[in-house]
């Protein structure tokens, strides 16, 4: 039986049974519930204050979107049995610099994002370059539910149920030429709706990239939804990339262009700090960020305030699925 409190028991190989994964409603209600208990002991005045606070926090997660579901994926490694991060946390603690650098900014600002009409240009070294409408993409391949670990380069992690289909489906349809060695992902840079664009922290538009075999890997997902609903704006609506074995910043949000190229793309973070953010950026506990250790991570919303961090897994725990992509490579050099 699931329990609305954070578990201090389930971790590592001791995965919770699927039925133990916190139901979304319970996970969302946990804070409000804790507050009402704490406030109840201190009188009605505090209870009123706390409930107002709880309401404000519930709102910050944004309104629930339209349902978008998919059949649970049968791909190896695509469904972790770990406890989900609550939707509330996953939609209010985001790095999406186009909407500000504070992790609370995207939930506050991203409502301005217009996701219709929306097109994605797919071009470069392909035989069938074309501009896809979002409605076409939504129907291009069967939706799957995938529950991935997400590890941010900053040292925190989440477990998120995504809805989408493998990027390989799209790649197959545009028929890359023999020159296509890498894939470049361009994300939206609209100064009218994105206040962060005025900041010079990164070069806009945000550009990310994958090697061709990484892009075609069955775990590489083009996501349109999460938690059984269409993506909220702050999480990269209407479509984003999810590459679960790489640090989160490799998974571009609100994609507008997918370009097949011959040369390794110069990614946004590489341009900003080449000695800190390599092209590969695979999750690797043995290769530290120049300014901090990558050996451990804090799982958001789990384990309570005083629990220790959990050890970070090689390739974020997807070594069995993706390890062979990097056979023979010096991962300390190709970080």
């Amino acid at each position: 039986m699931g329990h609305p409190f954070r578990s201090r028991v389930a971790r590592g190989l001791d995965h919770p049974h699927p039925s133990e994964i916190t139901p979304r409603a319970w996970a969302m209600g946990r804070r409000a519930w804790l507050r009402s208990v704490a406030a109840g002991a201190l009188g009605p005045a505090l209870a009123a204050w706390a409930s107002r606070d709880a309401l404000a926090q519930a709102k910050s997660g944004g309104p629930s979107g339209a349902p978008l579901t998919g059949a649970r994926s049968g791909v190896a490694g695509a469904v972790t049995m770990e406890r989900h991060t609550s939707r509330q946390d996953a939609t209010s603690y985001n790095n999406f610099y186009e909407f500000g650098t504070d992790k609370a900014d995207p939930a506050r600002q991203a409502h301005a994002l217009r996701t219709r009409p929306w097109t994605v240009a797919v071009d470069g070294e392909v035989k069938r370059a074309q501009v896809f409408d979002i409605e076409t993409l939504l129907k291009l391949a069967p939706m799957e539910e995938r529950i991935y670990r997400l590890r941010c380069v900053e040292g925190w992690s989440m477990v998120i149920p995504w809805v989408g289909w493998p990027l390989a489906e799209l790649i197959r349809r545009v028929e890359p030429t023999g020159n296509a060695k890498f894939v470049e992902f361009h994300t939206l840079a609209d100064s009218k709706t994105m206040p962060g664009i005025s900041s010079r922290v990164l070069e806009w538009p945000y550009v990310e990239g994958l090697r061709m075999d990484e892009a075609q890997h069955p775990l590489t997902l083009l996501a349109f939804g999460m938690y059984g609903e269409v993506l909220p704006p702050q999480n990269g609506a209407p479509l984003r990339l999810v590459v679960p074995w790489k640090y989160g910043f490799k998974s571009g949000k609100s994609l507008v262009r997918i370009r097949f190229v011959e040369r390794e793309p110069r990614t946004a973070w590489f341009k900003a700090a080449p000695q800190e953010y390599g092209f590969y950026s695979n999750v690797n506990p043995k290769v530290d960020h120049p300014r901090w250790s990558q050996a451990n991570e804090r799982r958001i919303g789990e384990d309570g305030l005083f629990a220790k961090k959990r050890p970070t897994l090689m390739f974020n725990g997807y070594e069995a699925q993706v390890g062979q992509l990097y056979a023979g490579m010096d991962l300390a050099r190709h970080f």
Binding site: R35, A38, A50, Y93, V201, S293, I300, K309
Partner: protein, 228 residues
């Protein structure tokens, strides 16, 4: 300087600062941020990453109290409220207290009190090294803040030691700057830098003024009045 009518606002405020309840009230006021953070931690109201929130907010309160401590002397000279001098020690001790809360939050919540890991982390991350240095410098100041220590050291020595607070302020600013540099976000830092810049700049200005004022007298040279 108070040069107005006897019952001016300035005088009335000064009497308020002199009230016997002023200090206990300030003492409790300075504890409120800690109480607020503790309440937030107990009720899970610190957001998705409560450890990070505790570390950042306790750090910000340290900076605020440092500003308040350094504001006492300029404020006293501008307003003539000599009573403010009695608050400086308490504000300084609270600065050290919140700095300790800040460091303990980091050592405990972020590093799980693994001291070997903490040593490696401090060596690896310059901004933490600078913060640790500021905390280390705060220790002798807090330890000698009492009247008996001041008398034992002698006023001149005590004053010289406590000038370290200026170095602490600069280290704290650098610590905060480096921490924000990761995201190029210096909006809040600029505010603290401006406040501390005014407070430290005022001291430099005062020092220079008294130095310049002393020069003509010691040399006896005829310096035109505009030179001062």
């Amino acid at each position: 300087m108070p040069n107005a009518t006897p019952a001016s606002l300035q005088d009335r405020l000064h009497r308020l600062w002199m009230h016997r309840l002023a200090r206990p009230v300030l003492f409790v006021l300075c504890l409120l941020p800690l109480a607020h953070l503790a309440w937030g931690a107990a009720t899970d109201a610190l957001g998705p990453n409560p450890a990070e929130a505790l570390i950042r907010r306790s750090g910000e309160w340290t900076l605020r109290l440092l500003c308040a401590t350094l504001a006492v002397t300029p404020l006293r000279e501008w307003t003539g409220w000599s009573a403010l001098a009695r608050w400086r020690r308490m504000l300084g001790l609270y600065t050290a207290f919140y700095a300790c809360v800040h460091f303990l939050s980091y050592a405990w919540l972020d590093m799980g009190l693994e001291w070997a890991d903490i040593a490696v982390d401090i060596a690896k991350r310059p901004f933490i090294l600078v913060g640790a240095l500021a905390l280390l410098l705060l220790v002798p100041l807090a330890a000698t803040s009492f009247g008996r220590a001041m008398r034992a050291m002698g006023g001149a020595n005590w004053k010289a030691l406590h000038r370290a607070v200026y170095a602490i302020a600069l280290l704290a600013l650098l610590h905060f700057f480096w921490m924000r540099a990761g995201k190029n976000d210096f909006a809040l830092w600029t505010i603290y830098a401006a406040v501390l810049g005014v407070l430290l700049g005022w001291r430099v200005w005062r020092q220079m003024r008294s130095y310049l004022a002393s020069v003509p007298r010691s040399t006896g040279a005829g310096v035109p009045p505009t030179a001062g």
